[in-house]
């Protein structure tokens, strides 16, 4: 290392709340960056409001600021901390954008902060399409031609340069409208004329449909050494976003010429641009001519780089951080082998397959089609010695009810349609039509998917048929099926028997998976790697079992409801177990996680979280215990089956977990100990459902057990609505009962997260929801310590909690959710596992709940005094939504969870913390014009005071007819009426939205339902599509206005204080 002065203090920007397109991978990259800096003795300051990340732990950065990632906040942190350098490339697009804004505003120059790694000039070049195209053209690198046009003439001129067919894309597209393939000048003219009536500008681009999509991950140091760590091939050709594609590493269908053509261009480009650190480059490759186009370059750590890092074992983020400090590539050690160094390109001796996880059915009215926009919320990666084995594993890892590529029960009405117009189920539709005789060639013509991949799927289908029709399941057939990635369950389904019988037969045949290492060098050098996978395509284990080990089951793919929080819990559990002297084994399959990092556990199995695979690992490793309570619902569901097979589960007994999970058993238990719960019934006929609903009175909450489409849960306010929802639930029967419970309106929700030891409550934290019940706890804004609950309520909650803990003999983490109304408390949910809010309460209360839980589960006595209520500060957690990514989804708070992440901020008082937290979740404060549409007079009355305050603060108010009438008449608030879209009079709200005359919206729906035909829906959706901040909940709106008033009228500042500056009482 030379030529660069080592910085003393580095500021690192995180990526904030998880959202579609920017998820957990940045916890991985940021954590690695911090560790790489700390190893150098550099003081690190991190700004990231994502409280559930590992990087914001107290033992990571020297200083953590839970603050919004905006120019204003970060500037104040710079003023306060005076760092001499800045890391921009580890916090996704968010960090990059903030960094560029700070530079533009001269903040960095003024305070002498230099950007480490890739320069901001380079970043700007890669971010700006024009500059980017020019830079690449100057070194004879081909980029896809693209022109932004504003007139018909300009469009036709551009088309002459591009040639037909071409792609048309609306620059501000709504619902993907206006994009598509254009084949002739006439067609283009027509489409342009149409488009210009609604948008000012469209993009005309070279049409690359059917080209292969290939990515390279490149690393470069300041001495111009450059390596391509990984190349990846998309199963889905161009036209489907790489985040929506099945991706395979390394490429499978590229010959030497193509592979190295693209590799050399990647290096040439990266050198020309002057990247220092990590860079991702995406190509389109014409399979007929080997022509290529560079599509995009990300001069920072990205989702793809996290994937590449996990696929190869090469610690990209760590290396990138070291290179940014000025090291040469060969000076950085390969942390995986520990014998070689980082200046090399990994050789794989396996195939890694990434699959996206979608949750489109969680969003009502959302389209299942996938395409050029990213909608997936998470991903998994499977490793095998063949593509077939890996892809079947990957499917199971998704936990979407699929058994593999084949043997699924999905009812796909028109499989060819879902193949030609891809949906999230395209992979499952392919075998269906193969069974019907559609050939590989035909499928290739329909989809552009390379025939090699299709042949691989065809072979899986062939083996499926063999299994199904063979007279006897002999050793050879069994071995073949396992080598083809079939699970015991798939085989059982085909042989009409059960999983356990197949497992027993298989073991009798001596067919067991082998454990292989990922060592980055394909076995060329001995490696001290802890990175493992299992395969049936092998005859020898690479490792022997470890003594005194503990197996921790991870959380699987990030999805709505299960995200980085559970990974945080798993990482903490592993660290606590390690501190107690255990050899720790981590099992997970999510490449975006910290838990799958090379330096977290003693052994990492990048494997399926299925009963079969957990048993395989258990039988090989014989761990002293298995932890099922840290990774959320997937491992929790495995508790009882594992226990019944004699696997030692640590912590609360799986029998007791089952008593909490089984609705009937739990209900009986609550009755016995005298704890109230909302009335509920499990019903199998529509008539019985109606009868029960009228007995308990509307509204009622409906949870069908089998759903065709649309959100699973609903609130019915009337018998008609009940009928409608039950119809949606496809089929209510003995096999698919529906659970109906009384929905209690205007109740507050309070959660307890705690740790118990042998049935004794040890530590607990109360969080109170800002929103009334009816909003999913994952979408609620929560505050700690509680602000509105009476001491008496808290006291009684504690009492009930103690009783439940004792009754279920809890040892370890748990979470209880309460409804509080008029001094009445009801339990609505209990989880005998760590909940989503454990990292939040741990960091807010400054006790590590998971460390305590892990220790007590492993036998430590953790009883003691813990103060979690008497805090001198307030912490507010806010949900992070991704509605703008899911076209058509209704952005309203509801009983089904739809947030993709969360953030939390600290404050001296409630309103300060609340406002910071909302800002951290990307809310922008209103400037001048606020639009109001408040359903129900009750809500209007509740919000009247708040509206008055808005008026007092000088905001100009707009509203819909009824809202305007009510507020003017009853409260005399001046407010201008705008017409609803359905009124067909102008000016409509939409006009105002489109002309950006509205900069903030409060739209309260009449009921907690989602009615996608309503005016409210269209307005809410327009707000999201035009990036206008929106609040759709009464309590949230009230609190927001109060907080704004505190800020603007009482001039309470939003303070810039680090986490360690918030002291607990008496400290």
């Amino acid at each position: 290392m030379n030529k660069m002065k080592k910085p003393k203090k580095v500021l690192i920007l995180g990526s904030g709340g998880l959202r579609i397109g920017q998820a957990g991978e940045f916890d991985y990259s940021g954590s690695q960056a911090i560790k790489a800096l700390k190893e150098e003795g550099i003081y690190t300051v991190l700004v990231n409001p994502n409280i559930a990340t590992v990087q914001t732990n107290s033992d990571m950065a020297d200083r953590v600021y839970f603050l919004p990632l905006t120019k204003e906040f970060v500037e104040q942190v710079i003023v306060k901390e005076k760092p001499d350098a800045l890391f921009l490339s580890f916090g996704g697009q968010t960090a990059l954008n903030v960094g560029l804004e700070l530079e533009d505003a001269g903040v960095l120059k003024k305070h002498g902060v230099r950007v480490l790694g890739t320069s901001t000039d380079t970043i700007r070049t890669t971010e700006d399409r024009q500059l980017f195209a020019e830079a690449l053209k100057s070194i004879d690198v081909d980029v896809a031609e693209s022109y932004a046009v504003k007139t018909l003439d300009a469009g036709l001129r551009a088309a002459k340069k591009i040639g037909f067919p071409l792609m048309i894309r609306s620059a501000y597209s709504l619902g993907g409208k206006g994009s598509g393939k254009i084949s002739s000048e006439e067609e283009l003219a027509q489409r342009l004329n149409e488009a210009f009536t609604s948008v000012p500008q469209v993009l005309l681009e070279e049409y690359l449909g059917g080209w292969k999509e290939i990515e390279y991950e490149v690393v470069r140091d300041q001495f111009d050494n450059c390596v391509t760590v990984c190349n990846m091939e998309n199963f889905d050709p161009m036209g489907i976003h790489t985040g929506e594609s099945i991706v395979v590493a390394p490429s499978q269908t590229l010959n030497n010429h193509e592979y190295h053509l693209l590799r050399s261009i990647a290096q040439k480009t990266v050198r020309h641009l002057g990247v220092i650190g990590e860079c991702n480059i995406q190509y389109a490759l014409n399979p007929k001519t080997s022509e290529y186009r560079v599509i995009e370059i990300n001069a920072r750590l990205s989702r793809s780089s996290a994937l590449a890092s996990k696929a190869t074992g090469y610690p990209l983020a760590w290396v990138a951080a070291k290179l940014a400090l000025g090291y040469a590539l060969f000076e950085v050690q390969n942390m995986v082998t520990q014998t070689t160094q980082a200046c090399f390109e990994p050789a794989l001796d396996y195939v890694a397959v990434k699959m996206p996880r979608w949750d489109l059915t969680k969003f009502k009215a959302a389209n299942r089609r996938i395409g050029s926009e990213m909608k997936s919320v998470g991903e998994v990666m499977a490793i095998g010695r063949t593509f077939r084995e890996a892809i079947q594993k990957a499917v199971r890892m998704l936990h979407i009810g699929a058994e593999g590529v084949v043997c699924n029960d999905f009812d796909i009405a028109d499989p060819l349609d879902e193949i030609v117009h891809p949906t999230d189920r395209r992979l499952f539709a392919i075998p269906v039509v193969m069974h019907a005789g559609v050939t590989v060639k035909e499928l290739h013509n329909m989809t552009g998917i390379d025939p090699w991949f299709l042949h691989q799927l065809k072979e899986i289908v062939d083996v499926q048929n063999m299994m199904k029709y063979a007279k006897r399941l002999d050793t050879e057939l069994m071995r073949t099926a396992k080598a083809y990635g079939f699970s015991d369950r798939q085989i059982a389904k085909l042989r009409k028997t059960d999983e356990a019988k197949i497992r027993a037969a298989r073991k009798k045949f001596g067919i067991l998976p082998v454990v292989k290492q990922i060592d980055t060098l394909a076995g060329e050098f001995p490696a001290r790697t802890n990175y493992l996978y299992m395969t049936y395509n092998g005859s020898e284990h690479d490792v022997e079992r470890d003594d005194h080990s503990l197996l921790v089951l991870g959380s699987g793919p990030y999805r709505i409801g299960s995200s980085v929080e559970f990974d945080w819990c798993c990482v903490q559990a592993v660290q606590s177990a390690h501190a107690k002297g255990y050899r720790t084994i981590m099992l997970n399959c999510n490449p975006e996680t910290v838990s799958t990092d090379f330096d977290i556990c003693d052994r990492l199995y990048f494997e399926e979280l299925t009963l079969e695979r957990v048993l395989d690992i258990e039988e090989f490793e014989h761990p002293e215990g298995v932890v099922v309570s840290m990774g959320g619902q997937i491992p929790n569901n495995l508790a009882l089956p594992l226990h019944e097979l004699g696997v030692p589960i640590v912590g609360t007994s799986p029998k007791d977990i089952d008593r909490a999970e089984d609705r009937r058993k739990f209900s009986k238990l609550l009755d016995r100990i005298g704890v109230e719960q909302p009335k509920w019934r499990e019903l199998t006929t529509v008539t019985a459902a109606r009868k029960f609903a009228s007995t308990v009175g509307y509204p009622v909450l409906i949870r069908p057990s089998y759903v065709l489409s649309g959100a699973a849960m609903n609130i019915a306010y009337s018998p008609e609505a009940l009928d409608q929802y039950l119809q949606q639930a496809a089929d209510v029967s003995q096999k698919h009962p529906v659970v109906i419970s009384k929905f209690i309106e205007n109740a507050r929700e309070i959660e307890v997260d705690g740790v118990a030891q042998n049935g004794e409550l040890v530590i607990y934290a109360f969080t109170e929801h800002v929103e009334n019940a009816g909003v999913h706890s994952g979408d609620a804004t929560s505050v700690m310590p509680p602000q509105k609950s009476y001491l008496e309520t808290i006291r009684r909650i504690k009492k009930i909690t103690r009783a439940v803990v004792a009754e279920l003999h809890i040892t370890g983490p748990f979470n209880i959710q309460f409804l509080a109304k008029k001094n009445q408390l009801r339990v609505i949910e209990l989880n005998l596992r760590a909940s989503r809010s454990f990292p939040f309460v741990s960091k807010a209360a400054k006790y590590n709940f998971i460390d305590l839980a892990t220790r007590t589960m492993l036998g430590d006595d953790i009883r003691g005094e813990y103060n979690t209520v008497d805090l001198d500060y307030v912490v507010v957690k806010a949900p992070q939504f991704s509605y703008s990514r899911i076209k058509g989804a209704d952005p309203v708070l509801y009983v089904e969870m739809s947030s993709t992440g969360e953030v939390a901020c600290f404050g001296e008082q409630y309103h300060e913390a609340f406002l910071k937290s909302l800002l951290a979740a990307e809310l922008v404060l209103p400037k001048k014009n606020i639009f109001l549409s408040i359903g129900r007079d009750e809500n209007k009355a509740k919000l009247a005071r708040s509206v008055e305050k808005l008026h007092k603060m000088g905001y100009r108010l707009y509203g819909t007819e009824n809202t305007v009438k009510f507020l003017r008449k009853e409260y005399g608030v001046p407010i201008t009426q705008l017409h609803k879209i359905s009124e067909k009079k102008s000016p409509t709200i939409l006009d105002y939205i489109e002309k950006r005359k509205i900069d903030f919206m409060i739209i309260i729906p009449r009921t907690l339902n989602r009615q996608t035909v309503s005016d409210g829906y269209h307005i809410r959706r327009a707000a999201i599509d035009h990036n206008i901040p929106l609040i759709s909940n009464v309590q949230l709106a009230q609190t927001f206005v109060d907080a704004l008033y505190t800020l603007q009228v009482y001039k309470q500042p939003l303070q810039i204080k680090a986490w360690d500056e918030y002291k607990k009482n008496g400290e």
């Binding site: 050494n225 010959n255 190295h260 399979p287 990994p346 050789a347 083996v463």
Partner: protein, 376 residues
């Protein structure tokens, strides 16, 4: 007494549909190493038993280029990347006009290949070339065996063929392999102003292409050709198979040429020959370098290059004479990757700047050589 072969519990694993014709009977095949270790798989390619030196290579693509590399002469090649044959085989051109490997061992191969340029499946190509291959083998286990033990002699036994006794396995290193792969008569290529003598010890075709691209005349000569009494501007020594010590004739002419001042460039075996001619010694590596990801540092700079390699012998750094110096060194294991004369334009690299297969990072060395040639 005949050695007993140890049967491991290895059973063939893998594709049952790897034949183009699924009705065709699968033929089993065994790999038996000299120490008796046995792996069982299925036969593809030419169904004939063979023996040779078993080595492994870690490249993930470029199998037609690798298999036609004359440096693999006499060797049974284990591919560590488990899927081979995915893009079939095109008409070339590759690195020589035939498949040079003695046999092939893979985890899994694709009978159903896919590529615009492909004209054969891998199996069809190998069958046509008379080269046997085995799939369904845990190639990682086999690779680890070779890594721990070092390269070993071994055999591929097809179906019910009788295996050879271990002592009867043919060691290709005691043959003059170079003689088998070198050309017989000199050939003149190109019509540039400067003339290069290219000594073909099993030269990869892409070396010729790389030289030709730079506008020189190439006289490609057999390994034992005496060029000392001819006019030339630069001398090039190619890659090739086996032990460099077998080529005393080549070394003799080279030593004479080194008395002059005209540029001399050697690649791979050529580098070892230059070392020997200069007075250094060579030795056999435990399991060699056969991969496309070998990092080589240029001594005295901050530069490190990714290279393709295929060699089992190396120049011993400790024996480099004092008017020569270390030029490149392997960043992984510290072995010699290139030497150069301190005053004269003599230089050589152990790796393959012509790539194919592998990274193109060091092709500039041809520019360097031709530049030296053009200066005289």
């Amino acid at each position: 007494m005949a050695e007993k072969y140890i049967r491991t519990r290895s059973v063939p694993i893998g594709g049952i549909f790897c034949k183009m014709n699924p009705m065709e009977q699968r033929i089993s095949a065994k790999i038996i190493l000299a120490d008796g270790t046995t792996f069982t798989g299925w036969s593809f390619g030419a169904p004939q038993s063979t023996d040779g030196e078993v080595v492994f290579a870690t490249g993930m693509t470029g199998y037609p280029e690798a298999f036609t590399d004359p440096s693999f002469r006499g060797q049974i090649l284990v591919m560590t990347y488990p899927l081979v044959g995915n893009y079939g085989v095109s008409d070339g051109p590759f690195e020589s006009d035939r498949v040079q490997i003695q046999g092939l061992i893979v985890q899994e191969y694709s009978a159903e290949y896919s590529h615009q340029e492909a004209v054969y499946s891998l199996s069809q190509w190998l069958t046509r070339e008379g080269v046997p291959a085995v799939y369904g083998v845990d190639t990682r286990a086999l690779t680890k065996k070779l890594r721990e033990h070092g390269v070993m002699l071994g055999q591929i036994v097809i179906g019910s063929d009788t295996p050879k006794e271990a002592h009867a396995l043919e060691d290709p290193n005691i043959r003059n392999l170079v003689d088998e792969v070198s050309i017989v008569e000199p050939v003149l290529i190109g019509s540039g102003r400067k003339k290069i003598i290219a000594v073909d010890c099993g030269m990869k075709e892409n070396i010729i292409r790389c030289l030709q691209k730079r506008g020189v005349t190439i006289k490609r000569v057999p390994w034992n050709y005496n060029y000392l009494h001819e006019e030339w501007d630069g001398l090039f020594l190619s890659n090739g198979p086996g032990d460099p010590m077998m080529l005393q004739e080549t070394i003799g002419y080279l030593r004479e040429a080194m008395k002059g001042k005209k540029p001399i460039f050697g690649i791979c075996l050529g580098s070892q020959l230059m070392g020997l001619a200069a007075g250094a010694q060579t030795y056999k590596l435990k399991y060699g370098h056969r991969s496309q990801n070998q990092p080589c540092r240029e001594v005295g700079t901050q530069r490190c290059y990714l290279t393709t390699q295929n060699h089992g012998f190396a120049v011993d750094e400790k024996t480099i004479p004092k008017d020569w110096k270390l030029w490149f060194v392997n960043a992984n294991d510290g072995t010699t990757e290139g030497i150069r004369h301190t005053k004269k334009p003599f230089f050589s690299v152990q790796f393959h700047p012509e790539s194919t297969p592998g990274p193109e990072d060091t092709e500039f060395l041809f520019d360097y050589f031709i530049d030296k040639v053009n200066r005289i």
